[in-house]
């Protein structure tokens, strides 16, 4: 039991752990001490003085956000003098504030507005001209309107401490103090937007959302980011059927309020003008739009015909579609088309990973483990570039728990900046690692899964592992069996098979850098865009993106989370709906193609997936542990696409915001050579 102290706040007896800050002790007791600069998880600033309280036997008002509780302390948070102080502080904060609430992005969800409403004076005694500074654009993402700034330093701290980027500072002092970007007139950073969302006022605004709407006109849909494999929860703000904002200010999900640029802003591919909105059928060199019924009939008829004549099928699934879709596709391939040739672009060696850990308990690290472990070894990965959330967790672990971060990578990575030790290869780190109390090992694309696990096991300390994969449901695609188990052809083998009868590609672009050997193959592609692969298709079916569907996805740590549809794009259908239509037309009986029904089956039949429904239904993340049994070796290549912070396979090609940022990946801290980013 940690030592506690007893104190009184507003007449209420409160007990709190020794060392707790008064503001936290009060919050825990249901008493809110107003604050601007105090921010849970960041260093103390004590800059705004909103949290002044009266402490008996202390002559002056005290700063509640830095004052540790003490035995017998008697605190008043609502006395006349405290109220007067708050009023004064707010009057002071408003001296140069433009009060342009009617046009400010933050209007309606602004902390300054709320405070003034609750505690402020109705009028100001300042008659001086307000200091005005023109608004500045620092990057395609970040805009700064200095007069609105209340100098709480939240942005500076989140960028410095949370992101490890250090891109914001404060110039000058007093009334002309101003937040400034690291490159004088512009920013060079992660463009994550964390500073924008953490700003209590409308001083920092985003190029994506600014002047688009009033906050209360939006509908908010909590879903899962569709880019990298970390599975951040993002709350999409939707108005008139259009997504106009992404954030996670309610701190729901495994990511708290963390999001990288992709989860916060790269939803714009959804209404890219090149989005496919009608099925297309080959017509000579080009395509002609056809109705859904015609397209589905054609696909079903050709599939049946090829099946009857014993032709060979190849099925390539996606790294982005839901577990339900992957499961249904695998079932359709095996039971419906009678083929074992099913695969997807595998971006991490999960087969070797699961096999090496088969039969173990507690061997898989959760997202939270990266924040709680005493030490984290990042082997062969550029975590900040490729797994922003995992990198954020590790950084927070260093800040909050003084965890030891180790990096073993062939080049410089951002983690070096706060790592305890770095090396080119694992052996050099052995002695130090063996002295850790416990450890999480992150196995990146440049590390070999079996070898790394053998190394970890030989350390003699408790180790949990993560095997990095690239995309939002890479893990789910593997778990649902979108792999050539039992002697099927791998993706590469399918493409190289000279007499493949049909190739069915769902949400993937394998022909970006490869040729299809079979000339006569009937090619069906389901995608959002007319990709290189879709251009080779006989039938192209317009698919819905993750932001337009229900279902579940599994992140890099094996946590299952639920998607909720934010918008609908006219003409497109979810891949599951499309599978259902084709199955029905082909006369196949594979179960009801509804996400909930399919998920029921997944829970019953896929190992590790008997997860508790309430957790998922309420927006939680349920861990899976598919370790009960050996995993067969698979043919074909495992290759990370090497995406960076600003790329996301094919999707990023259709994101205006990702294409507009000017930073070279790794520009700030070096970085491992990025790949081609194809999915």
């Amino acid at each position: 039991m940690p030592e506690t102290v007893k104190l009184t706040i507003d007449g209420k007896a409160v007990e709190a752990e020794k060392g707790t800050l008064l503001i936290e002790a009060a919050r825990a007791a249901g008493i809110e001490i107003p604050s601007f600069c105090y921010y849970e998880g960041l260093t103390l600033q004590a800059a705004c003085r909103m949290c002044l309280v009266e402490v008996e036997k202390t002559p002056k008002l005290q700063v509640g956000c830095t004052l540790p509780v003490a035995e017998g302390m008697v605190v008043h948070t609502e006395s006349a003098v405290v109220k007067q102080a708050r009023k004064g502080m707010l009057e002071f904060l408003l001296t140069n504030h433009p009060l342009d609430c009617p046009v400010c992005d933050k209007g309606g969800e602004c902390e300054l507005q709320d405070m003034v409403f609750r505690y402020g004076a109705g009028e100001s005694r300042f008659l001086e001209r307000k200091v005005h500074v023109d608004e500045k654009q620092w990057s395609p993402v970040v805009f700064f309107d200095a007069p609105r700034c209340i100098l709480c330093y939240r942005c500076v701290r989140i960028c410095n401490e949370g992101m490890g980027v250090n891109a914001l500072g404060v110039a000058n002092r007093g009334v002309i103090s101003e937040i400034v970007p690291n490159r004088h007139d512009h920013l060079e950073c992660d463009e994550c937007g964390a500073c924008i969302d953490i700003c209590p006022v409308g001083a920092l605004t985003s190029g994506i959302y600014r002047y688009q709407t009033r906050p209360w006109e939006m509908r908010h849909v909590g879903t899962i980011c569709t880019h990298c494999a970390d599975g951040c929860r993002t709350t999409l703000g939707v108005r008139n059927g259009k997504i106009i904002r992404g954030n996670n200010r309610d701190r729901s999900g495994i990511n708290g309020e963390f999001l990288c640029i992709k989860g916060r802003y790269a939803f714009d591919f959804v209404d890219h003008p090149e989005r496919l909105q009608s099925p297309l059928m080959r017509c000579g060199e080009g395509f002609e739009p056809v109705s859904w019924s015609k397209a589905v009939e054609t696909v079903a008829a050709r599939f049946n015909e090829i099946k009857v004549r014993g032709g060979e099928f190849g099925v390539i699934g996606s790294n982005h579609t839901t577990n339900e879709e992957n499961f249904f596709l695998a079932k359709m391939a095996r039971q419906g088309l009678g083929t074992k040739n099913i695969d997807h672009h595998r971006t991490g060696d999960l087969a070797a990973f699961f096999d090496a850990l088969a039969g173990r308990k507690d061997a898989l690290a959760s997202t939270q483990d990266l924040y709680l472990a005493k030490a984290v070894l990042i082997a062969g990965a550029d975590l900040s570039q490729q797994h922003p959330l995992l990198a954020f967790q590790a950084r927070a672990n260093v800040r909050h728990h003084a965890a030891h971060i180790y990096t073993a990578a062939p080049g410089p990575v951002r983690e070096d900046k706060y790592s305890f030790a770095r090396a080119q290869n694992l052996e050099e780190l052995r002695d130090k690692l063996a002295r850790e109390e416990n450890l999480v090992i992150v196995i990146g694309p440049l590390a070999e899964a079996r070898r790394t696990i053998a190394f970890g096991d030989s350390l003699g300390v408790p180790v949990k592992y993560v095997c990095l994969v690239d995309y939002s449901n890479s893990r789910g695609a593997f778990d649902m069996g979108v792999v050539p188990r039992g002697g099927g052809k791998s993706l590469e083998q399918m493409l190289a098979a000279p007499d493949l009868g049909a190739l069915w590609v769902v949400g993937a672009n394998p022909l970006k850098n490869a040729e299809l050997a079979s000339r006569q193959a009937f090619v069906v592609v389901q995608d959002l865009f007319l990709t290189e692969t879709a251009r080779r298709a006989d039938i192209v079916l317009p698919a819905a993106s993750a932001y337009e569907k229900s279902g579940t996805v599994t992140n890099v740590c094996g946590e299952v989370q639920k998607l909720r549809p934010a918008v609908k794009v006219m003409g497109a259908k979810t891949d599951l709906e499309i599978f259902g239509l084709i199955a029905k037309e082909m006369g196949l009986h594979l179960g009801i193609p509804l996400p909930d029904k399919v998920f029921e089956e997944i829970r019953r039949t896929v190992r590790g997936y008997d997860v508790p429904l309430p957790v998922i239904e309420t927006g939680g993340a349920a861990p899976t542990a598919p370790l009960n049994g050996r995993v067969e070796e698979l043919p074909g290549a495992v290759r990370s696409a090497g995406d960076t912070l600003f790329t996301s396979g094919t999707l990023s090609r259709y994101s205006k915001i990702l294409n507009s940022v000017m930073e070279a990946p790794g520009a700030l801290y070096g970085g491992l050579a990025p790949g081609d980013g194809s999915r």
Partner: protein, 160 residues
């Protein structure tokens, strides 16, 4: 960027004086002493101090912007700082500053054409008990009257 051997030695000592990992504490003294040698805080100096103290240039820039005794442009050989903060103001600090402006023919943070004098209106220098106070480079002058200031400036004009 390198400095005179004496200053290099001083910097090396400073970096050793702070506990391991706290080298950023040397930012302010380094800037002040380097300013004396270089003449002003140049962008290269900012980069250099950042490198030596292991912080980002932006963080050194913040410090430079914060402290009024750090100048981004060279000041005069004699930098005359007149306090007009409350204690000094009550006993004629503002008149003294006005007088200095006239005598030197320059305004706040300006430099005379010959580069010998610069003027700055400063906030409290902790010399309230002897107000009004003036500081010229590192020297304090107490109970300064306009006449006394003229004499001071004259003597400096004559000095080489």
């Amino acid at each position: 960027m390198t400095f005179s051997p004496a200053l290099e030695e001083r910097f090396a000592q400073m970096l050793r004086a702070y506990p391991e990992g706290r080298q950023r504490s040397a930012v302010v003294p380094m800037l002040i002493y380097a300013q004396d040698e270089v003449g002003s805080i140049t962008p290269e100096l900012i980069e250099e101090v950042a490198r030596r103290c292991g912080v980002d240039p932006l963080q050194v820039d913040e410090v430079v912007g914060y402290y009024s005794m750090l100048h981004r442009r060279p000041m005069g050989k004699y930098h005359v700082q007149v306090c007009t903060n409350i204690s000094c103001m009550l006993v004629g600090g503002e008149q003294l500053y006005e007088h200095a402006r006239k005598t030197l023919g320059i305004g706040h943070k300006e430099v005379t054409p010959d580069g010998r004098f610069s003027l700055e209106e400063v906030e409290c220098m902790g010399a309230c008990s002897w107000a009004p106070a003036v500081q010229i480079n590192y020297d304090f002058h107490h109970f300064v009257t306009p006449e006394k200031l003229d004499q001071l400036i004259d003597s400096l004009r004559k000095a080489q």
